[in-house]
Symmetry: C2
Subunit: 252 residues, 2 copies
DNA sequence: TTCTCCTTATTACTCCGACTTAATAGGCGC
DNA sequence: GCGCCTATTAAGTCGGAGTAATAAGGAGAA
């Protein structure tokens, strides 16, 4: 059964290719990732009961302790709930912390559900324009400078390069920080990261059909001018166009 | 040191008062709660390094396993990060999952930070009106019936009674479900729950200064009529007034 | 001197096996 | 048939031993 503890010293080169998991990721993290994706992708339906700790940990060929730590992570994100005698069961979707960065990453690890992507864009279309409005009202000179520099960098390198995408992230991060609202920063950053997963699909499917610089420039101008209404409107356009791009690239 | 394992069978009545922790809560959950509140309240500053596993678990008089599981929970919520040799350090606030229900609960366990409460209300003022707009456009007959019944129940019992507050929750939950947007439901429910903690302060400080029924009725009428703009505006009023009430009740 | 490489010591990570607690199912008495 | 009580089962907790990774300090070379 457990051929880990005994063969750990001698037979590692034969059976397992050096490291049984991705480097830098701990064992319980890898298990949590594996189970998390399985649950979020629907492999385990809400209400399902996982195999008992001993069985499952033996099946995964890890110790009970490592398995339990992974379960604690999933429980912390609202995916499962464990009770003595009853076992560990998958909670209904509404109990999941859908906005948790890890949960979002797991949701986008496989084929992301189209309806959920639309939900996220709807939420984004609500929050981002409001964030731009706050930024226009509260930004200071330093943040404005970062936005300007990032915009220039986006012009130099295009979004096709990694440097260009980094500049795009810097631009949006600067806007978020300018809102002076930590809750909004965390929320928007999570959703933004998740949405950018889908962008990779987009990049693969077709070349960028449109130049995003002018739209970004409009947002910057509005924020620089301190015009909340204009910033709101300009960011709304940006989000809508991003959704359009993603929709074209998504299956069916 | 460990008077837990040996006195568990005979001397429990003498030393420990039956259960050393809150009933229904597991040991690692209790530890996570304890450390979580300590971190969120600022007792440990970002960048601080916690004592080593062995030291801290001995100080808390629990096994290393239970302590580690608690740390995994905190790490899952972005509060801490553990690395070999480096120890477990508190992450900067921007890495925290501030919208996680547990993190919010820990933040509101002590004296909630005034600026953070304002941030949450700002976010709420952005999301809730948009949710009401979606609800007005998408609600079905069943959800409308629930809103109507809840509103009637709120009229019968006031918000001073538990039944009245339950009806209030049902009313808002029905609106959220009608948005057909899981992400919005989860987000709004988390923030709403957190904000309602502060409402308890409010209730204690003074009697409710104003009758909330007419404002709720306006929201219901707009949703029933399918008028998105009106629903947005009516909900905006509701959130703003709730913020006003909370501000009066908050210290300084 | 300064940089790089390597050693070392510290710390988290993992595993194991036993015991404890709690909740359910089924039997027992009423 | 109803409620209590015991037996079973699975999670919870514990202690200790051994492993792996990394930050830090020292040795050697440029």
């Amino acid at each position: 059964m457990t051929d880990r503890g005994d063969t750990g010293a001698d037979g590692k080169a034969a059976a397992t290719p050096r490291t049984p998991r991705g480097t830098g990721r701990r064992l319980h993290g890898a298990i949590a990732h594996k189970l998390g994706t399985a649950i979020v992708s629907g492999e385990y339906a809400p209400g399902d009961i996982l195999s008992s700790e001993v069985d499952f940990s033996e099946a995964l060929d890890v110790s009970r302790g490592a398995y339990r730590e992974a379960i604690q992570v999933l429980a912390a994100k609202g995916l499962v709930e464990s009770r003595p005698k009853a076992g560990t069961r998958v909670l209904p979707r509404l109990r999941w912390n859908l906005l948790d960065p890890d949960v979002l990453a797991w949701a986008f690890a496989g084929e992301p559900d189209k309806g959920f992507v639309r939900n996220l864009f709807e939420l984004r279309a609500v929050v981002e324009p409001a964030a731009a409005r706050f930024a226009a009202e509260r930004r200071d000179r330093e943040e404005l400078r970062i936005m300007k520099d990032s915009l220039a960098a986006m012009r130099r390198h295009t979004l096709a390069t990694e440097a260009g995408r980094a500049a795009d992230r810097d631009f949006h991060d600067a806007i978020l920080r300018a809102t002076r609202n930590e809750a909004m920063i965390v929320l928007s950053a999570s959703i933004g990261a998740a949405v950018s997963w889908t962008t990779q699909y987009k990049q693969r499917a077709r070349a960028l059909p449109r130049n995003p610089i002018p739209d970004h420039a409009k947002v910057y101008d509005a924020i620089a001018a301190g015009d909340g209404d204009a910033a709101d409107a300009a960011m709304r356009v940006l989000v809508d166009l991003a959704f359009e791009d993603t929709r074209f690239a998504m299956p069916e």
